[in-house]
Amino acid sequence: MSEPLLRLVDVVKHFPIRTGFLMRQVGVIKAVDGVSFALHPGETFGLVGESGSGKTTLAMTLLGAYRPTAGSMWFRGYDIADPEVRRGVPAIKKAIQVVFQDPGSSLNPRRTVRQTLEVPLRVHGLAHTSAEALRRVTALLEMVELPPEFMHAFPHALSGGQKQRVAIARALATEPSFLVLDEPTSALDVSVQGKIIALLVDLQRRLNLTYLFITHDLSLMRNVATRVAVMYLGKLAELAATPALFSAPRHPYTRMLLSAIPVVSEEEERLKPRWIVPRGETPSPARVPPGCSFHPRCPDAFDVCPRLDPVAAAVDGDHRVRCHLYPGCTPAEGTDAAPARH
């Protein structure tokens, strides 16, 4: 297997909860709590999880919007967890870009498409004259299959799909190698979604891009990702190649998620695990249950689960799961408790 493009090692992002006049810290939100995985060049790595799972925090940490509390993120030999490294090497900012969920909010309503697309070009010195910028903007629009006239448009004149194409063009302006796609189609109609996905797949092939694809739509994930990681309360519950994850889910949480997907045909209905009645809702990441954080909702929980936090182990080749039901996941008694990193 090739050298990974990005390798996360035990990435932690905790937010302190402060209150009162003196801003005393009274608690901590464990948004991301020890996540490790590697992304290979050219792949589409899927990240699923419900609200509060920490998937967006993880993405924003990767993008440099948050400084991780602990852990390292290796990208082309640099540890981009260190903000000094990010500041010192502008190539990192160029190489990692993002497409957000809501095309309505991701474009400035008071700036034309051209003005929006010129920002990354100017910031990174990719266009010095306006003629050069114009040429680049035209090329970017062509890349996302929009005619050049669109550069004069304000966002309100564009449809949701067109706005998302512009957002993709902006992400591509710095010639990145890695794109974070944070629910790129979930605000779009299903008849439009397919074209945006097709565009992303096509761009990935032509420009050799690597994607971190975040979505809560599991049916979509089934069709776009090469591998999928399932996140629950700041930790990965399961990580596997897409077909394996969907056909043989191991973690009870993954099974619960899959069993709840609303599908449109009998054929798909048969592919879903037996319906598992979810118990309760995801707790707040400010009050993570002890032991395995999923145990209060888990249909298969047993005596170890509330006491010990499982560790990840491989169950079948690259298929990794973090659940006491599987051998190798239960740490030796007494070694676990609350890991002491803050």
Binding site: E50, S51, E145, L146, S159, G160, G161, Q162, R165, L188, D189, V190, S191, V192, Q193, G194, K195, I196, I197, A198, V201, H216, D217, L218, S219, L220, R222, N223, V224, T242, P243, F246, M256, L257, A260, I261, P262, V263, V264, S265, E266, E267, E268, L271, K272, V277, P278, E281, T282
Partner: protein, 362 residues
């Protein structure tokens, strides 16, 4: 039709005059909901679903909105009722479940205050305080909320998203309305919670024989929740059928396209979707409004499409079916729309195809 009709929308037209001119949005909507029936109304953003609901609820204000047609509810034409009476019906006989529970709940009152307030308005007189409280606790139990007494005293911010959505369902159903209109219920929630919410709602309306009109763009949710479905496109109904039939044998090219657009768990890749976009309501195409995006379009589509019965309770607004014949097995095949790689297909069974589908990009 054997079933007793509760809601019967007949030839509803709604248009607006705005800065850019006159837009004709609803273009003759016909829709019925029988007593005890759960009906889905699906369509994409801007197809007129929410506008239809707002017309039923009397929330469209003339003269800005021009309304034509009839909306019969339990024997009365809502469009001809004085505002006072409409207000009565709206609170007591038609209830609404909104998409965003936080926006629909008042943050400064407890759940109990808001629930008791609704119970006090129930038809047939104000119940005693004790009876009202008992009724409120009961309905919270019915939506499977744990510890209802505590929830009665809680403020909306103290509840989780799923609990708030359950409270909204309780508020909608507590006075046992004849019709509940649910606008994308639970879509703001996670998939596991959404499924629970829909199950609770289903169980409750079935027990009380409440009629439901479910508005959503999520085809999977419609399939799991409803008895019959209307598919709406650009201001009119394209197709209606019992839910199972619609999903197994969609007839209208739009329905077929929509269903084919949904990514499947079977993992065959993401379908291309439907080319083109919803027409501009200022200047909609004459005749069938789907024609510019339809690969089966033909000259006859310039006229308003016929409303053709193709099966039991299965009607479709499309010229492809107006030769009087029942749909052939070929036509009834689930997915004549080409999948990702598909080129113009011959599944149109020799029908002349004069259109190069407009290459407007989404």
């Amino acid at each position: 039709m054997p079933r007793e009709m509760l809601l019967d929308i007949r030839n509803l037209h709604v248009s607006f005059t705005g800065y850019r001119g006159h837009s004709r949005v609803l273009n003759g909507v016909n829709l019925t909901v029988g007593r005890g029936e759960k009906v889905g109304l699906v369509g994409e953003t801007g197809c007129g679903k929410s506008l239809t609901v707002r017309a039923v609820l009397g929330l469209l204000q003339p003269p800005r909105a021009r309304i034509r047609g009839e909306i019969w509810f339990a024997g009365r034409n809502l469009l001809a009722l004085p505002p006072g009476e409409l207000q009565q019906i709206r609170g007591r006989e038609i209830a609404m479940i909104f998409q965003d529970p936080m926006a629909a709940l008042n943050p400064v009152f407890t759940v109990g205050d808001q629930l008791l307030d609704i119970i006090a308005r129930r038809p047939g007189g104000r119940p005693s305080e004790r009876a009202a409280w008992a009724r409120a606790v009961d309905i919270l139990k019915e939506v499977a909320l744990p510890d209802p007494e505590r929830i009665m005293r809680a403020y909306p911010v103290q509840l989780s998203g799923g609990m708030r959505q359950r409270v909204l369902i309780a508020m909608a159903l507590v006075n046992e309305p004849a019709l509940v209109i649910a606008d994308e219920p639970g879509t703001a929630l996670d998939v596991t919670i959404q499924e629970q919410i829909l199950q609770v709602m289903r169980a409750l309306v079935d027990a009380k024989r409440t009629s439901v009109l479910l508005i959503t763009h999520n085809l999977g949710v419609v399939r799991q929740t409803t008895d019959r479905v209307y598919v709406m496109y650009a201001g009119s109904i394209a197709e209606t059928a019992p839910t199972a039939d619609l999903f197994s044998a969609p007839q209208h090219p739009y329905t077929q396209g929509l269903l084919a657009s949904v990514p499947k768990l079977t993992g065959e890749g993401v379908p291309r979707g439907i080319d083109g976009m919803i027409p501009d309501y200022l200047n909609p195409p004459p005749g069938c409004r789907f024609a510019p995006r339809c690969q089966f379009a033909q000259p006859r589509c310039q006229q308003p499409p016929p409303w053709v019965r193709v099966g039991a309770e299965h009607d479709v607004a499309c010229v492809l079916y107006d030769d009087g014949s029942r749909p052939s097995a070929e036509r009834a095949a689930p997915s004549p729309i080409p999948l990702p790689t598909g080129e113009g297909t011959d599944e149109a069974s020799g029908l002349p195809s004069n259109t190069a589908p407009a290459v407007t990009r989404p």
